[in-house]
């Protein structure tokens, strides 16, 4: 039996952060993960994260993962991979299966950071090869470089559905549709808008009726559902797809906490059965902590903070830091966590009903909630949208960020101080002085929501220049022609690429500037290469 001061189960953002925090204070820490690769969900996340600088906002998930791992290893944390923890017994003993061998460890403290498992739904044909989890799609394309198929139906419009939908397009797949049985898109509007402008239709109040095929998926039928979630006869639609991707929610993997004798409670808004924890993440069993998705489905950014909070508490309990030091760190992490938990989509504990207005009082865009894009007419009330007078003066940045999400890189990166979010990071970004905007484009390439555009209505007679963030291959070259599309992906007019800028800071996001007929300046938000007029 090998003893460690801290045993951490799960090498995702929560587990690694707890390990870093405890090891930095001098504790001897081991982390077990059943996977062959550390990082948990983070290594599949290739998009930029929301949050503030302290949450590593605008960093891509896998880079955050690389950094956490290097930090943990640098502090002497032992990370054991391919090691599945199968049991927890009295006195904090654990059984680990490593390469078909059982090994036994005992810890003074244990952190359960096992994350979540994906939910599934069943429907006729749901077991056919070609029906996969959203996590599987990410593993195939982002870890192994393999497209899961050619045309995909995404079931579920939460952040996972819309983010994986976007990543599928980046990998070269077509996304035929995103459907959801709910009447509103569950994910952030800015995430939905990224794929809506690439022409992906959203079908809300729809469910999947059937996956077709005998030994693999060769199509799907979707159907509208009424308010009682019953199928509406005659509303069936056939979609020609070879992959059906399920993104219908996550459930905390709390089995080990149950084995350890921790009290569990059913929390619908935390995703299911979760261990009851105090504010430090300690469960009802002394010295056993839970952090991250296992304690309630949230995000990597909050998982990291929960890990830190637990690590800090453990260090104090065992006398590695003074009470005052502990309290100072705890206050810092707690504040940071509460910042993330605010806003429209926040996890601050209360039951969420679909709000009708932003915290600032603007009516939320209904097209954004049902179709995934902003209607131009709904746009003008938001504080990030420069009015006609400002646009007449020349180049302006347009912040199409209209929901209270925890995010502020736009304010952070603007060298001219044009953008203000304020202390509360869920505030809507405000364009405070568009006259000072230099057109540097830093806000455009940094915005994790890809919700910022540069518009120059004075570019040339009858023509405007519109700059958009662009993350697809092949990268269009200056001078090439294509189609300017509106926020729904519908083709507006021919457009010409003026410039394509990409640098180390943009981390793969290019700033593409296109020339469009002047009247489309406030509509054109996507560039589709190729001259032929196509349907959006």
């Amino acid at each position: 039996m090998i003893r460690y001061e801290v045993i951490i189960i799960g090498a995702g953002p929560a587990g690694l952060s707890a390990a870093i925090e405890a090891a930095a204070r001098g504790l001897k820490v081991v982390v077990f993960d059943e996977n062959d690769k550390p990082g948990g969900q983070l290594f599949k996340q290739i998009h930029k994260f929301f949050g503030a600088k302290e949450h590593q906002a605008r960093e891509r998930g896998f880079r955050i993962g690389e950094r956490l791992l290097a930090q943990a290893v640098g502090l002497g944390v032992k990370v054991v991979l391919g090691a599945q923890v199968v049991g927890i017994f009295d006195n904090k003993q654990i059984t680990v299966m490593i390469d078909t061998q059982m090994e036994y460890y005992v810890g003074n403290s244990i952190v359960i950071a096992t994350g979540a498992s994906e939910n599934v739904i069943s429907f006729p044909g749901w077991t056919l090869p070609g029906v996969i989890g959203a996590g599987a799609a990410q593993t195939l394309m982002n870890i192994y470089g393999l497209r899961p198929g050619s045309k995909v139906l995404m079931v579920g419009s939460g952040n996972v559905g819309v983010v994986v939908g976007y990543q599928l397009i980046q990998a070269g797949c077509q996304v035929a549709a995103v459907i959801d049985a709910a009447a509103h898109i569950g994910g952030y509007g800015v995430h939905a808008a990224k794929i809506a402008r690439m022409g992906v239709p959203f079908y809300l109040s729809h469910t999947i009726a059937q996956a077709h095929g005998t030994d693999r998926v060769c199509g799907a039928t979707i159907v509208e559902v009424d308010q009682a979630w019953q199928p509406v006869p005659g509303s069936e639609k056939f979609l020609d797809v070879d992959v059906i991707c399920l993104a219908v929610g996550l459930s905390p993997m709390s089995q080990l906490a149950r084995l350890a004798g921790c009290l569990l409670q059913d929390h619908p808004h935390k995703g299911g059965l979760v261990p009851v924890c105090d504010e430090y993440g300690e469960t009802t069993v002394k010295d056993i902590y839970a952090a991250g998705d296992v304690a309630g489905i949230e995000e990597a950014s909050s998982a990291m903070l929960q890990g830190r909070i637990a690590g800090n508490a453990i260090a104090c309990r065992h006398g590695y830091i003074s009470r005052t030091e502990f309290e100072r760190y705890h206050a810092e992490y707690k504040t940071s966590l509460m910042q993330l938990r605010g806003g429209t989509f926040g996890h601050d504990g209360g039951e969420k009903t679909q709000p009708k207005h932003t915290a600032e009082g603007q009516p939320l865009s209904q097209t954004l909630l049902t179709k995934g894009y902003l209607d131009e007419r709904e746009l003008t009330v938001f504080p990030g949208i420069p009015g006609e007078a400002a646009r007449k003066q020349g180049l302006v940045a347009v912040l199409e960020c209209t929901q209270n999400i925890p995010c502020n890189p736009c304010q952070d990166v603007c060298p001219k101080g044009c953008i203000k979010v304020g202390d509360k990071i869920t505030n809507l970004p405000v364009m405070v002085s568009s006259a000072h905007c230099s057109g540097c484009g830093l806000c455009v390439i940094s915005c994790p929501g890809q919700a910022i555009f540069l518009v120059n209505e004075t570019y040339a007679d009858n023509f405007a220049a519109v700059s958009i963030p662009y993350e697809l291959v092949p990268l269009p070259v200056p001078g090439s022609k294509g189609m300017a599309c509106d926020r729904s992906g519908a083709v507006l007019a021919e457009a010409e690429v003026i410039s394509v800028r990409k640098n180390a800071k943009s981390d793969g996001t290019a700033l593409l500037t296109m020339k469009v007929p002047g009247q489309w300046a406030m509509l054109a938000r996507f560039f589709k290469p190729g001259a032929a007029l196509q349907e959006g």
């Binding site: 056919l128 090869p129 599987a136 470089g145 990998a171 291959v473």
Partner: protein, 108 residues
């Protein structure tokens, strides 16, 4: 045919050397060290096994070793989760028909 050669965000994928393996007696190619399931899917193989009771086809579902839908017979051993088993040169991979996997399959 499903390999991503050029990705807008990710640098090159670290792939092992090209190796040959046998699937149901026919020779296929994949990259050494990648999961067998990846090499199969790249070659268009979707069905990994058929369930015992109803002979229903199953293929990759979770891709992280949790659902058991991707089990096959590998070098004679049944119930091998191909999504987490690295491909090696000369491996003999076979479609599994029912039997021993019954009861462990995630999606019955």
């Amino acid at each position: 045919m499903y390999r991503i050669e050029n990705h807008p965000i990710l640098p090159e994928f670290h792939r092992g050397k090209r190796v040959a393996f046998l699937f149901d007696g026919k020779e296929y190619e994949g990259f050494e060290g990648e999961p067998i399931a990846i090499a199969l899917r790249d070659n268009g193989v979707m069905v990994h096994h058929y369930t015992a009771k109803r002979a229903e086809p199953r293929g990759i579902f979770c891709a992280i070793g949790r659902c058991n839908d991707c089990v096959m017979i590998v070098d004679g051993a049944p119930n091998i989760r191909t999504c987490v088993t690295p491909l090696q040169a000369g491996m003999k991979v076979e479609t599994q028909y029912g039997t021993s996997n019954e009861g462990v399959t995630g999606r019955q």
